[in-house]
């Protein structure tokens, strides 16, 4: 029971982080029709910026604030320099161009920060645990991630559903040409959407930084899982991404936590300990393959244009 609550919370926390990454991907795809493989690089840059800025300022909060702004600016710069030229191109062109961006950012990080990973220490007020139920303790920082992510989800919901910019974003997602024809500054809207997506990825990266090592390639693992999320949810759908992110987060965490014991019931101990890590890594891909075979456009397909 104790383990179940703890793993459940871990799953929710992973799911919310995945949503932050996936939201940007799905927005950029839904509105600009661009497959952005470099999205994971911004996740990585967010974490590196946070580790460096925290070391400079000596304050965790100032560090993540600076990192967030820096990631946002970086995203806008990349959109203006590179991404903008890829709009309206074939998806294959996006794959190749943004694949190039991944190589660039990975190497840039190696050049600036060196090949060894960084760590982002937590301030003492976050580095403890809280008694959430009688006798059940849970790390404060993970709770902070959950609350922060939920707050961002709520803000994103208000932004997209109840503001003028959100209205334009939704309009852009359902018909790009039409809102351009209606006189909306579509270039600016694209830059804003891209910046927003990048900032969300950066936020996810910097929140994850104290838990994992900040290292080159950290973005790619998340990127692929985020792609699994948006494909399951239906590409272009934010609601779908949210449901799928929580689903994937819970399945992945549950697989890693409980699969070894489950396998031990049917297999020998040795076979189980060999098979379990591989099988739990595969679980989410298996889930995605099943969803796509049954629903080739994901669970919540975005409205057809």
């Amino acid at each position: 029971m104790l383990l179940l609550i703890e793993q459940g919370l871990n799953g929710v926390q992973l799911g919310l982080l995945l949503f932050l990454v996936a939201a940007g991907l799905t927005l950029v795809f839904g509105i600009m029709d661009v497959v952005n493989l470099a999205h994971g690089s911004f996740y990585m840059m967010g974490a590196y910026f946070a580790a460096t800025a925290t070391a400079w300022t000596g304050s965790f909060l100032a560090g993540i604030g600076i990192a967030l702004v820096a990631t946002l600016l970086l995203g806008i710069a990349v959109e203006i320099i590179a991404l903008r030229r890829l709009y309206g191109r074939d998806h294959l062109d996006h794959v190749l161009g943004t694949f190039g961006l991944i190589l660039f950012f990975n190497e840039l990080v190696r050049l600036l920060w060196g090949p060894a990973g960084l760590s982002l220490p937590l301030p003492s007020w976050l580095n403890g645990s809280v008694e959430i139920l009688a006798g059940i303790y849970y790390p404060t920082y993970r709770l902070a991630i959950i609350s922060m992510s939920l707050a961002v989800v709520a803000l994103l919901y208000i932004l997209v559903m109840h503001t003028r910019v959100g209205m334009l974003i939704r309009a852009g997602a359902s018909n790009r040409e039409m809102i351009g024809a209606l006189g909306v500054n579509i270039k600016l809207l694209y830059t804003l959407v891209f910046g927003l997506g990048v900032a969300l990825a950066g936020l996810a990266g910097l929140m994850q930084a104290p838990i994992l090592t900040v290292q080159i390639g950290m973005g790619e693992n998340v990127l692929i899982i985020a792609f699994v999320v948006i494909v399951i949810g239906g590409i272009g759908s934010i609601r779908g991404a949210f449901v799928a992110a929580l689903f994937v987060g819970l399945v992945d965490t549950a697989g890693r936590a409980f699969l070894p014991d489950l396998l031990r019931l049917v297999l020998s101990a040795k076979a189980a300990s060999t098979a379990a890590p591989a099988l739990s890594s595969i679980l989410i891909y298996l889930l995605m393959a099943c969803v796509l075979v049954l629903r080739p456009e994901g669970l919540f397909p975005a409205a057809r244009r």
Partner: protein, 315 residues
């Protein structure tokens, strides 16, 4: 235009001659590394040519093609570890295993389109990658050293580097020939028709799904053979051979060389691997140059090297 078409012919002849002379050049200059990198180029060219069949002609953007390199390689590696060294067993197993995987992946993936297809092929490749990392009996993460190359009973000695190189080159020539015949056959026209307008092809009564699956299996099978060659070449196979970045490399080779052109992927494989060697000589941080270069190719040279030589994309 005629002049440019000739430029392309000259390029093909020159590249062909250069590839054919590699072992002699290596012998003359005493540079053994030259033959190692040339062999790698030829093997990757086979994989890239096979990818071009589905990616270029068929319009199926598979982001998991490196998986077959791994499957072919592991077939050789696992059999060698079990004491079966005969190439007459290893290679057919490598080919059949890749074909079987490609068939299952193709049947499931080709139900989807566009970005979903890109992502589902990536997901399947990731699954196979993680299975390989879980093969603790066969090296797991660290990979598997192959102590003896495939044996062909005295017929051909793969441990002789020049012989192995010429075998790879002959297989590349055979692959290009097969793809050429396929693309210009009824089957090839059909999958190209399905690329440009699948609905119309279906309305004309062609079961395009079946043809696309067959094309997907052919490409996977050829790439599996390249995997068997790669494992023999490096005497080693590890999950890294099918990391998703390797699938990205194969896509880069096809586009860099010229999508939907017969020799384009060969040019692309040569260009990418030579570029990697040259850039890494210049600076340790060579990918900082290579990455933006891909972006420039996408933006300003979409038809790749073959396009610069005046080739028109086929179909």
């Amino acid at each position: 235009m005629k002049q440019l078409a000739n430029a392309r012919l000259v390029a093909v002849v020159l590249v062909g001659a250069a590839l054919a002379l590699q072992p002699l050049i290596a012998l003359a200059t005493g540079n053994g590394f030259l033959l190692v990198i040339s062999t790698r180029i030829v093997i990757m060219a086979i994989a890239a040519v096979s990818l071009n069949l589905i990616l270029g002609y068929g319009g199926m953007v598979s982001f998991g093609h490196a998986a077959y390199l791994g499957i072919g390689g592991y077939a050789v590696g696992i059999l060698a570890q079990s004491g079966i060294y005969s190439g007459f067993v290893q290679w057919p197993v490598a080919i059949l295993a890749s074909a079987a995987f490609a068939l299952v992946i193709g049947i499931l993936s080709l139900r989807t389109r566009g970005v979903y297809f890109i992502m589902i092929t990536l997901a399947f490749a990731q699954m196979i990658y993680y299975v390989a990392t879980g093969l603790d009996d066969y090296g797991g993460d660290d990979g598997l050293t192959i102590y003896r190359r495939s044996q062909f009973g005295g017929l051909i000695d793969l441990s002789n580097k020049a012989v192995f190189y010429y075998l790879c080159l002959a297989l590349l020539a055979a692959t290009v020939f097969v793809i050429w015949r396929l693309v210009n056959s009824r089957f090839g026209l059909l999958i190209q028709g399905a690329r440009s307008n699948d609905r119309r092809m279906q309305a004309l009564g062609f079961p395009t799904y079946r043809y696309r699956v067959v094309a997907f299996v052919i490409a996977g099978t050829i790439c599996g053979l390249a995997g068997a060659l790669l494992a023999n070449h490096t005497d080693f196979i590890s999950p890294a051979a099918m990391h998703w970045m390797r699938s990205g490399d194969l896509i880069v080779m096809v586009i860099l060389g010229g999508i939907r052109s017969l020799f384009g992927p060969v040019f692309g494989a040569i260009a990418l691997l030579v570029l990697e060697e040259v850039l890494s000589e210049i600076t340790e941080y060579w990918q900082i140059i290579l990455g933006p270069l891909f972006l420039l190719v996408v933006l300003y040279a979409r038809r790749g090297i073959d396009g610069m030589l005046g080739g028109e994309p086929h179909g």
